[in-house]
Symmetry: C2
Subunit: 336 residues, 2 copies
């Protein structure tokens, strides 16, 4: 058991191998009686199609894969959901891989996906400009970059305008009357961290506010713990330099900051207004609901899936860089 093949089924059913295959693939060409016999044999033997053999013959698989940067960030699981819905629509299955911000694991996953002849690979890479990605494509696996952009245009990518997002966040704070704010993000190897800051600066400059009043707090990663720690650094600033608002590079950081602020007795937003980024489900559910820059997460995933499918099936495919527009969702963390 566990290892019976069409041949075995044919033998027990007393038919030829071709007939079994027909039952599997073109049931209409088989007489109901034989079909019943064959199906009975399959059940008895616990027959399971061997996908490797099918694929070997077909040359291609029926699965898509998404290599996530951080499976524990709800943002990425929402993106994955969008991908899944698109994949389901065309009857492909989706496999999730998690690189967990580890270059080695990312490479290992990509290598295996190539070897499996995965139809298409979506990836939020640690480094979107990494040569590894070029090699994968050069060897024939369609790759679409999700929530990141490359400096060149040799890939399809789907991203959100992070400069605009940064601008929206800071314009909102300026509108609320803030004239000294912090930008909390890092590491600066991340494109989004840079872009969101760039947007913040644009808004700041447009309002003719002095550059030194946009204070950069650099952290080591976009995690809750880093936000907590940043809050302590903020609290340590002399009152004259202490910002009245903070724009965090993502919601995890913002939630950490929020927690630190409240637990140290700072009222939000009166003592410190906070804007996050991503609008994950926990942002709205925070005890002081978080103002955040929303990215169309599911759409992001869907669009990426569509692109990779086009790349995989359309010979005239041309790379395109899709950019979505973020949107500010104002909540209690900035509005009294």
């Amino acid at each position: 058991m566990g290892a019976s093949s069409v041949k075995d089924v044919a033998r027990t059913a007393g038919v030829s191998l071709g007939t079994v295959s027909n039952v599997l693939n073109r049931p209409d060409r088989v007489s109901p009686a034989t079909r019943a016999k064959v199906e009975k044999a399959m059940r008895e033997l616990g027959f399971v199609r061997n996908e490797s053999a099918r694929q070997l013959r077909a040359g291609t698989s029926r699965t898509l894969a998404y290599v996530m940067l951080d499976a524990s960030n709800p943002f990425f699981t929402d993106v994955a959901q969008g991908i899944e819905s698109a994949a389901e629509a065309v009857d492909l299955s989706l496999v999730l891989c998690n690189s967990g911000n580890d270059q080695r694991r990312e490479s290992a996953h990509l290598a295996l996906l190539e070897q499996r002849r995965t139809q298409g690979v979506l990836v939020t890479p640690i480094d979107p400009d990494s040569a590894v990605l070029d090699e994968v494509v050069a060897r024939g696996t369609p790759v679409v970059i999700v929530d990141r952009t490359r400096t060149d245009t040799r890939f399809c990518s789907v991203a959100v305008d992070d400069v605009l997002g940064g601008r929206l966040a800071v314009e909102h704070l300026i509108d609320r009357g803030h004239t000294r704010i912090a930008y909390i993000g890092g590491p600066y190897t991340l494109g989004q961290v840079r872009d969101r800051l760039a947007g913040a600066r644009e808004a700041w400059a447009a309002a003719e506010l002095p550059a030194e009043d946009l204070i950069e707090i650099t952290i080591d990663g976009l995690y809750v713990a880093e936000g907590l720690e940043a809050g302590q650094r903020l609290a340590g600033l002399p009152a004259s330099r202490r910002p009245t608002a903070a724009f965090c590079a993502n919601d995890l950081v913002a939630l950490g900051l929020l927690q630190q602020a409240i637990s140290s007795g700072t009222r939000v937003p009166e003592g410190l207004a906070i804007v996050g980024y991503d609008d994950i489900v926990f942002a709205a559910a925070a005890a002081v609901p978080l103002t955040s820059v929303r990215q169309p997460r599911q759409e992001l995933g869907r669009a990426a899936a569509d692109l990779v499918l086009d790349e995989a099936t359309n010979p005239d495919h041309e790379h395109s860089q899709v950019q979505f527009t973020p949107e500010l969702v104002a909540r209690a963390s900035t509005i009294t």
Copy 2:
């Protein structure tokens, strides 16, 4: 390109097919010169091993899979991380599938994993007693049930003692002086929802408190939105019946409840104490840090991976039902 085989490599390198295979699998048996030639040809052709063919020949794959119940619940991504670390240790790769609480998708994933001859499948099933699981095992794929238990012992499973967890939560509330509390959970088709309530009742009975003061609020699923809604129902109760504390079946629900309480002006824990379950990262990071029953998430995953590996490789494997012990983590949502 994208489709060159060992044969092609052999041709371009001017060696035999067997030599190429040796370069791949037993490089020491090949002279450095030929090896270099072959490797050069591989690079030129963009050769990628065909995993399907390998697997067809080998009869078995080098991957484990985890079929998650809800990829957007951080609890399950943490479990997945535990599995991944165990898989990595034995050089297996892990693929994640998400059933998203959908029976059809769960079945589809399981079917595909069988067809791929996946070494072992871990699953948090929608219905642990479903016959589908028996069939998968009967056909030869090792299956371990994660964070659920079955009524029979024909499976390995890894779970946490939910009755104890429920008891711990409610004992804690009783210790804090509460004599009227709510249990918020549902649907009751979920074993954990039932077990945690059972534990709650045990504690309640042991303290000789009247059964009617343990109020059950039934919700449709363990999501943030349901917690919010439950909060409104709680607020709607006449003051004489309104509980002073709530034990929620998981943290998502607790976070929703917390948000509703605070936004409606109820102080936590003074007006309403809250205990959650799972101790996800957002529990500690909530603006009122949440008291929660911690499950050893990563260990859960690791143990499950170990069991499935044993089942896959050890002919003398015997099923075992591992049960972990939960632990109460007291935080500000219950402690003044």
